[in-house]
Symmetry: C2
Subunit: 341 residues, 2 copies
């Protein structure tokens, strides 16, 4: 008898924080793969701020999740049935299984969904969702391609204890930058400095970011990697140096707004400082993930890069509540929902 | 007997529009140049939106004009006394005479103030303040260095009938772009299309910019050269293409705000579209003005580039009222205050 596949589907589009009314749990029998396809069991799901954007209607960098569709999610799966030689039964893969226990990937979707075998010797399943996964790739290419760090420059990264932030800060340290994080709470700030080796971390929940920047960035800010938007973006804009680069990776402070997004009222600092603000979408770099993963894996191995995941063990039914941890800043490190071992 | 030099000095910093209370007229005897210096008679002054920023206190790309100082202004002068062989009596020069009839430039300020002889065969005095002057250089380097136009791309420029706008649009046409202007009023829009050869011009005073962009930029916007900020910037942000470049040259809609600058609430379009917003300050390009002037002069000569100046004839006493024409959009073309022939 085939196992049953539990799924979390988008029931309605959220206004503000995505509450329980946005979700519907369904269950259906698992089908077997046709020629060229594979069947995955989902081991772990990546929970990302970007998911909030995917739930909105309207034009974005990828189409929104449709009402009634299984919620989109990146994750790691194990091949449990295969009619594709490239993905033998038992192999581990990275891809976009969605919020469900099992995912049938037909032949024509293998490439389109970016299904890739992963090497567990390079990193754990949760690391493959963190430093070696989408957040790590986002941090890597955002920093290297848009930020173009030079040794001796000062980099500031918000959401410093998050998945992208931890990658960006550690990578910038490796590249010779002075690195200052911004995070919420003493525990995160302490971890970022003591464990990850950032030069400083500003706790936006105690004291002001303005004072923190003044203290910890005496020579101004050359690169700002922005994951949060809002007031913090505006505050950093007042401290940027000439020819500064601001990487717009996300704006988690604004995703659940029920009114308009708060635009950076200090954007004319870009003019005064001949600075640049540029957006990044990680999917553009898919052809180059391999080089980045190889580089990052060496840092993980030699200890120059550490990673922290906030792993919640549960079932797909735990997805709605777990997702909310991202938006109240409760997660500490990359948020992962682990469904199976 | 030496002539008397009338001067307009900054009496107090403006709140909102710079009214008459901001200015003080003084008069003093003209001194003669010392070794290495020159004495200029001001022929024409360049009136620019940037002047509003120079009147504010605080850090910017150049220091503010001090209270009691002669108001800073670019302009064209004639050398009427000289102890510097490079600037013989009678020669025409471009520089920053300030709002006064005469300007004594001591030896040590010749280079620092960017004093340069101009060739009247390349363009008229007012053209040397327009296409061949600071606005032209701003348009040239902003478009070429930051905008990096490619043939077939769509460029939108606001303040299209202004000094920078007319340069940018015509240059982008020469480089093979589809060019759509945004200007205020039917007369300006008609001139921009019929005389300057833009593909279209949107009148923001009649109808909406949103509808205009939809109609005239069916393939989206690849380059937006922004002189105005505010709502128009936000509207264009909603129409940009992937990898679009937004040149932040100015924000005239915001300069006289008495509340905070309006930040672009649609700035996350930079993320969705992997686009870039970058500021430009023309002075950075001073070492390359020569190449740009030479190129622009050929376009003026062969008729591919036209220029329009709004020349007000008067005395320095007319400066305060004339400046306000910029902020109510009354000027049509580059605003020049001509003091002498």
């Amino acid at each position: 008898m085939n196992p049953m596949n539990r799924q979390i589907r988008l029931a309605q589009r959220p206004v503000g924080l995505p509450g329980p009314q946005c979700w519907q749990q369904t269950e259906e029998a698992v089908a077997q793969p046709q020629e060229g396809g594979v069947l995955l069991q989902t081991l772990a799901l990546s929970l990302d701020p970007a998911m909030r954007g995917w739930m909105n209607e309207g034009k974005s960098y990828i189409p929104p999740v449709g009402i009634g569709e299984v919620m989109r999610a990146g994750g790691i799966g194990r091949v449990i049935a295969s009619r594709n030689e490239a993905f033998p039964v038992g192999s581990l893969v990275s891809g976009g299984p969605g919020v469900q226990d099992y995912c049938l990937v037909p032949a024509e979707m293998i490439k389109r969904s970016g299904l890739t075998r992963i090497d567990p010797r390079m990193g754990s399943v949760s690391q493959w969702l963190n430093v070696l996964g989408m957040p790590g790739m986002t941090g890597y290419f955002g920093l290297m391609d848009v930020g173009q760090p030079k040794a001796g420059e000062t980099l500031v990264v918000s959401g410093a204890a998050g998945a992208v932030g931890q990658t960006v800060g550690q990578l910038a340290k490796i590249k010779g930058c002075r690195v200052v994080g911004i995070a919420g709470g003493a525990a995160k700030c302490e971890w970022v400095v003591k464990e990850l080796g950032f030069d400083a971390c500003i706790d936006y929940k105690s004291g002001t970011v303005k004072d923190g920047l003044k203290q910890h960035c005496p020579d101004g800010v050359d690169i700002y990697f922005d994951n949060v938007g809002g007031e913090i973006l505006d505050t950093v804009l007042m401290r940027i140096n000439r020819k500064a680069r601001i990487i717009i990776c996300g704006a988690i402070s604004q995703y659940n707004n029920t009114s308009a997004v708060q635009g950076p009222k200090n954007y004319l600092s870009l003019l005064v400082n001949r600075a640049r603000m540029e957006g990044i979408v990680v999917f553009d770099y898919a052809p180059r993930y391999g080089e980045a993963v190889a580089e990052m894996a060496t840092y993980l191995k030699d200890g120059r890069m550490k990673s922290r995941e906030d792993v919640v063990r549960g079932t797909v039914a735990d997805f709605p509540a777990t997702l909310l941890k991202l938006f109240n800043g409760e997660n500490f490190g990359k948020l992962v929902l682990q469904l199976a071992d």
